[in-house]
């Protein structure tokens, strides 16, 4: 047992920053001139909390500014940590390495972007008026609403920070229970965030569904974890890994436990058939939150999956993992389902949700390839690199797409394809950015989405194409002898082709339909800049030196995972 003093605090700076941020968010808006009279005296000491707020903290933007500030700081810190290749252990339950650093970066960047977006999506009103007796009922209620809205800002950003905190902790934990608890922290906050969109009917409904299905999933997961505990007596990942590899035949308890945990994580990443609530949640939540779910939350799920699958259950080289066939089937179903469902979706958010499901399928396919045990350590790392790379750049273009939707959200146009109609005429820059995001999602070179998809297919092909029997002289002989994993690559390819249809459709709608309203989009300068930056990086990470740098980082992360 290590004592607190052994913990090297510097390893947890991003988390600590978020905690500080949360505290600041709680305290700052409440600062006021309240004084407490020292009993029995007339002197009153200012306690700074309560009373009439100071002018400086009266600004309703305070929470969002704090959040943005916090996230940018943690983002920078994560960058620094990646740069410095920081690693180390926090007790026995957390480990910091390039992998966790990279994911901290992913999470914090997602949250940063999300908070910038929400800065505009749910803006507070300045100078709220206190209702007076003379006001009519209507104006009283609006005024109260405004007040409430301003009040909610804090809640929202606190929840956002909670999500970040949970995610960062989760990626670092090496103890299954901590992993699960932090996951729950993030999940529970995100349920609320989904439901936070109260102005519309759908907010509550989306939150409910997401919450119910999510809680069932996490209950299943926690039950699975308890089974693992029963089996092993310890939830340290390393310890589980040792027991697993020493296991001769599959212990049903371990197997079922692991399977149930996978269900929970499968829900997080949106794998079929656990994905059903995702489109509902995405379409019900406000766009930035949907973006958060599609990127950070998904990344979190994949971190968990990778941790338990690659660290715990990965068999020796050359033997097939027990779960391989399951993941193969799930991945194929997931990508097909996602793509087909997205094909005719007329709600852009649902479409993006389904596309996100499909992308989960691609990544699961890559994971299944590792489970086949065909690859060497190196080729496995290559595949993991591909997956992580994909998760990283998803932040750019998937979140970017949601950001574009969030620009439209104000006008209430983000729930229907009609809203995107004629976007190019209203704002060509945004439309072009959106088109770039779509093309990148579709995997069109030279955008970064292509590179990641290429890496995944490459990884799969890499380990499977050589499996066909050497003596096969004809295609049919060869095809019948090749490992099933190879067909995953073909399946990805076919699915990419199908997906192209709906991605391009967005382009068509944006460029060639008459706009519903002709007034220009809201300025929202920072959000706009963020979108453009996302678009630019989507291109830059596709080919050239920047992609090179990112790939190297990701590669290191992948190496440190395995």
């Amino acid at each position: 047992m290590s004592s607190l003093s052994d913990i090297s605090i510097e390893l947890l700076i991003p988390e600590i920053m978020m905690i500080i941020g949360i505290l600041a968010m709680i305290i700052m808006p409440n600062l006021g001139d309240a004084k407490i009279r020292i009993p029995l005296t007339n002197t009153s000491i200012p306690v700074l909390i309560g009373g009439t707020r100071f002018n400086q903290v009266n600004n309703p933007y305070i929470p969002s500014i704090i959040a943005i500030f916090t996230f940018s700081l943690s983002f920078i810190v994560s960058l620094v940590m990646i740069q410095g290749e920081t690693n180390g252990n926090v007790g026995e339950i957390m480990e910091i390495n390039q992998f966790t650093n990279l994911f901290s970066l992913i999470f914090t960047s997602t949250l940063l972007i999300t908070s910038i977006a929400t800065f505009y999506v749910m803006p507070p009103r300045k100078d709220p008026k206190i209702p007076k007796n003379s006001d009519s009922i209507d104006s009283v209620s609006t005024k109260i609403n405004i007040l409430m809205n301003n009040r909610r800002q804090v809640d929202f950003y606190i929840l956002l920070s909670m999500v970040g905190l949970g995610m960062c902790l989760m990626s670092k934990s090496t103890h299954l229970f901590l992993l699960f608890v932090s996951l729950e922290l993030a999940s529970l906050s995100s349920y609320v965030l989904v439901g936070f969109y109260k102005e519309k009917d759908i907010g509550g409904e989306a939150g409910t569904k997401y919450f119910i299905v999510g809680s069932v999933a996490s209950a299943v997961g926690i039950y699975g974890m308890s089974l693992l505990y029963l089996w092993n007596g310890d939830l340290q990942i390393n310890s589980l890994s040792n027991s697993w590899s020493s296991m001769e035949i599959l212990d049903p308890m371990a197997g079922i436990g692991m399977g149930l945990m996978l269900v929970a994580f499968g829900f997080k990443v949106g794998a079929a058939p656990f994905h059903l609530a995702t489109p509902d949640a995405y379409s019900g939540a406000s766009s930035p939150i949907a973006g958060l779910l599609a990127t950070a939350s998904k990344a979190m799920g994949f971190v968990a999956i990778m941790k338990i699958l690659f660290i715990v259950t990965l068999p020796e080289e050359g033997t097939e993992a027990y779960w391989m066939i399951a993941i193969v089937i799930i991945s194929v179903i997931t990508m097909t389902w996602g793509n087909f469902a997205a094909l005719t979706s007329d709600n852009p958010k649902r479409m993006l949700a389904y596309s996100s499901v499909a992308h989960a399928g691609y990544m699961l396919a890559a994971i299944a390839a590792i489970g086949s045990g065909l690859g060497t350590q190196n080729s496995n790392i290559l595949i993991i690199t591909a997956v992580i790379f994909h998760l990283t750049i998803l932040v750019l273009f998937k979140l970017g797409a949601f950001l574009v939707l969030s620009l439209l959200e104000k006008e209430g146009l983000s729930h229907n394809m009609d809203g995107l109609k004629g976007l190019a005429r209203r704002d060509s820059t945004i439309a072009v950015s959106m088109f770039i995001f779509m093309l990148s999602l579709a995997g069109i070179p030279p955008l970064s989405g292509f590179l990641s998809k290429l890496l995944m297919i490459n990884g799969i092909v890499n380990i499977s194409a050589g499996t066909g029997s050497l003596s096969s002289a004809t295609i049919l002989n060869w095809a019948s002898s090749v490992n099933i994993i190879f067909w995953l690559a073909i399946s990805i390819v076919i699915n990419s082709a199908i997906s192209l249809f709906y991605y391009l459709r967005i382009g068509l709608i944006m460029f060639f339909e008459e706009p519903v309203s002709s007034k220009p989009l809201e300025k929202s300068i920072y959000l706009r800049i963020t979108i453009i930056i996302c678009a630019i990086f989507t291109i830059l990470f596709g080919i050239g030196p920047l992609s090179e740098i990112l790939l190297e980082i990701v590669n290191e992360a992948a190496q440190s995972l395995v």
Partner: protein
């Protein structure tokens, strides 16, 4: 109107061309060095006329001084003619050594390597070059082509530029005309089969363009397409023939092939069977181009083009291309010099096709009333003569009857010459008639208002023109005589030879030849009939239409070519026969030698060989006596009272009325006559076949592509969409269903894993 306007001053700019050959000689060129000018000058003039004409379409100077490009075209053709004559002169009397035959290679068109059967690349690089090849046949046809092109271009300036319907469009005519000329010259001089084919196709294009000159006429557009496609069918076979030849010899150059046709590439012995197929396919190409049975259907329709075009392309030059190609087959079969034996069948097939076409065309010509159509069928028939002659020649060559072969070959080539000159003139004369009829008709009907029902080409509207158009009548008379084979005039000298040699082959060697022999002998008589009929219907008798009375021979530029060609037709044949052209053309000698006058006559009328003698006299009897006699009985008649033609024609007209009159109304209503009117239904059958096979099949293909192949794609799309809608329905919106499905999925996956691992 009566006075023929002379516009010769317009020709002054062309005078320097006459000095071109001397000038080049002085600066040290050989005649063959200048040969490329024959082709390139027209080639360059073609776009010049076209572009200038399109831009300065309505310009007065362009129209009046340059004759809408006519002067330029004439100049280009003058250059070609000058140089062609120079080469001819050089060949006959000059110092240049033509024995190497393949004279020059201008540039290497394409070069490539060849993979041999031992998996090595051939050491010598294969070259397909461009050059010229000159021998007697080349020279003769080159002369014919350049000379006739020049004259017909001259004629066109009268014919085309005075027709109001051609206003502002004549530059197109002249441009296409020179391009065509270039094709013809190039084909004749080409030194390889490939380049022969290339120019051959260029001519096909020009033929298409010129037939379709009156593009707005539905019939013209149709005829143009028909001509191109029909010849194209022949051409693709020709192409395959070329491939086979290439396969055999590893080259398509005359030099390489003719050097030793019995050994192929790398010294391999040539398989006569393969060569037979190659030559047969080449012959199919020739059949298409020369409008022989069964690809003859395009030629009559081609008369839709302006008359100079008919004169040039469809009588005098282009249709000779097929003959030229067959003539080029001689070295393959000439077993006397390295030829490949065993190709007798080729000669027989060619002779058969020739015989059949000759007879058939003559039959159809019986009932034609359109003056140009008659000439068209006559062309087909005469070309068929030449084919028969060539077929016989090839047969003789292959069976090693060298002397007979040379006579047959020489006679065929000589007939080509005679026919080209005569037919060129006949068409121009007919053009003159048509033109004047048209003018007269317009004149009558207050110029401008066209009466579309009136057909200036229909002989039933003519009659009695002899007095109105003396020059035309004379020209046409000599032309017809040449075609008929009236003794001592033009075609007689060559036709006799062909018929006699065919009979000789049939009687003495190969009974199969009897069929073409009989056919062409019969055709000789029929020729006598239909040519006389045409002349008599046009020029003799009383006018059948008012229009005739207003006809004058007044258009400039038209008379000179007629006069020149009349002279050539009248005495040229005899003159060349005196020079023993037959042996010259068959490469027996390379000089023209003067024979004695009497010797030639004796040779022609009283040959020592009895067969030849009998056949010769039968021919004369049939073609000169019986045919014209019947024609005179049917169509002959005196001119209208008070009308007088010049002496010989007047005499002829009066003579034609002396044989009584026979009414053929009943005969013309017979079924057979109707069949002939309908060209023996060949066109109908072809049309029917095409409309029942090709068109439906094309539509079927289009349908198949749209519905099946693209339909599969569309089906994939619609299935995707419908399955997408279905799959979206699974997301019911109820959280309970989600949980249920997740649970079911989870459990089934557990079962699956358990099953796999157990």
């Amino acid at each position: 109107m009566d006075q023929v306007k002379h516009e010769y001053p317009l020709l002054y700019p062309l005078i320097p061309i006459l000095l071109l050959a001397p000038f080049l000689k002085i600066i040290g060129w050989d005649s063959v060095d200048a040969a490329f000018l024959i082709v390139t000058v027209p080639l360059l003039i073609f776009p010049t006329i076209l572009i200038i004409g399109q831009i300065f379409n309505k310009n007065k100077v362009w129209k009046n001084k340059w004759k809408e490009g006519g002067i330029l075209a004439l100049g280009a053709l003058a250059v070609s003619l000058t140089i062609a004559l120079w080469i001819l002169f050089d060949y006959l009397y000059g110092s240049y050594n033509f024995t190497d035959q393949s004279i020059l290679t201008w540039f290497e068109w394409i070069t490539f390597d060849f993979l041999q059967s031992d998996f090595t690349i051939s050491e010598e690089i294969r070259i397909i070059g461009v050059g010229i090849w000159i021998d007697q046949v080349t020279l003769m046809i080159l002369f014919v082509a350049t000379f006739l092109c020049f004259l017909i271009c001259w004629f066109s300036m009268g014919y085309m530029n005075t027709d109001p319907i051609n206003e502002d469009r004549n530059h197109r005519f002249y441009a296409e005309f020179v391009l065509f000329s270039m094709g013809m010259f190039g084909m004749v001089m080409a030194d390889s089969f490939l380049w022969l084919f290339i120019f051959w196709e260029i001519m096909g294009l020009c033929s298409y363009l010129l037939i379709g000159f009156y593009y707005w006429k539905v019939s013209a557009a149709y005829a143009a397409k028909k001509a191109f496609l029909t010849t194209r069918i022949g051409d693709v076979f020709l192409m395959v023939g070329l491939f086979i030849l290439y396969d055999i010899y590893g080259s398509l150059d005359f030099e390489v092939i003719f050097d030793d046709p019995s050994t192929g590439v790398a010294g391999a012995l040539v398989d006569s069977n393969q060569l037979f197929w190659a030559l047969l396919l080449l012959f199919v190409g020739a059949v298409g181009k020369s409008a022989q049975f069964p690809l003859h259907v395009w030629l009559p329709d081609a008369m839709e083009g302006p008359t100079p075009v008919s004169a040039l392309i469809h009588a005098a030059t282009m249709v000779n291309a097929g003959l030229y190609l067959v003539a080029r087959m001689v070295p393959f079969v000439d077993v006397h010099y390295n030829g490949v034996s065993g190709l007798e069948n080729l000669g027989i097939i060619i002779a058969f096709i020739g015989g059949i076409t000759a007879f058939m065309a003559a039959l159809i010509a019986f009932v034609q009333n359109d003056i140009k159509k008659v000439l068209a069928y006559s062309t087909m028939s005469q070309l068929a003569y030449i084919f028969t002659g060539l077929g016989v020649a090839l047969w003789f060559y292959n069976t090693d009857h060298h002397h007979a072969a040379m006579i047959a070959f020489g006679a065929s080539m000589f007939h080509l010459f005679n026919h080209a000159m005569a037919k060129g003139m006949l068409f121009m004369a007919s053009g003159s008639v048509i033109h004047e009829m048209h003018h007269a008709h317009d004149h009558m009907n207050n110029e401008g208002s066209h009466d579309h029902d009136f057909d200036p080409q229909d002989m039933r509207n003519m009659g009695g023109l002899a007095s109105k158009m003396p020059i035309t009548a004379t020209a046409m008379m000599f032309g017809s005589m040449s075609i008929i084979g009236v003794p001592l005039i033009g075609g007689f000298w060559s036709k006799e030879g062909i018929i006699a040699e065919t009979w000789k082959a049939a009687i003495e060697y190969e009974p199969l030849m009897l069929i073409p022999a009989i056919l062409i002998l019969a055709t000789a008589g029929m020729t006598g009939f239909y040519m006389s009929r045409m002349w008599l219907m046009t020029f003799a008798g009383e006018p059948k239409n008012d229009v005739v009375n207003h006809v004058h021979e007044s258009t400039p530029w038209i008379r000179e070519p007629l006069l020149i060609l009349t002279v050539i037709t009248a005495i040229g044949g005899f003159g060349l026969a005196l020079l023993d052209i037959i042996h010259f053309l068959s490469a027996d000698t390379d000089h023209l030698e003067m024979h004695g006058f009497l010797y030639t006559l004796e040779h022609a009328f009283l040959p020592s060989d009895m067969t030849t003698r009998i056949v010769g006299w039968t021919t004369i009897l049939l073609s000169f006596i019986i045919g014209p006699l019947i024609a005179a009985r049917v169509h002959g008649g005196k001119l209208q009272k008070g009308m007088k033609a010049i002496v010989p024609i007047n005499w002829l007209v009066i003579l034609s009325s002396k044989f009584g009159h026979q009414d053929v109304e009943n005969m013309s209503k017979s079924q057979f006559s109707e069949a002939l009117q309908n060209r023996l239904y060949f066109d109908d059958i072809y049309e029917y076949l095409i409309s029942k096979t090709i068109i439906p099949f094309a539509n079927l293909s289009a349908w198949f592509d749209r519905i099946i192949i693209d339909g599969i794609i569309k089906q994939v799309e619609s299935i995707s969409v419908s399955s997408s809608i279905q799959i979206r329905k699974i997301t019911t919106g109820s959280a309970r269903d989600y949980i249920l499905m997740a649970a079911v999925g989870m459990i089934s996956i557990f079962i699956l894993i358990w099953g796999v691992n157990a």
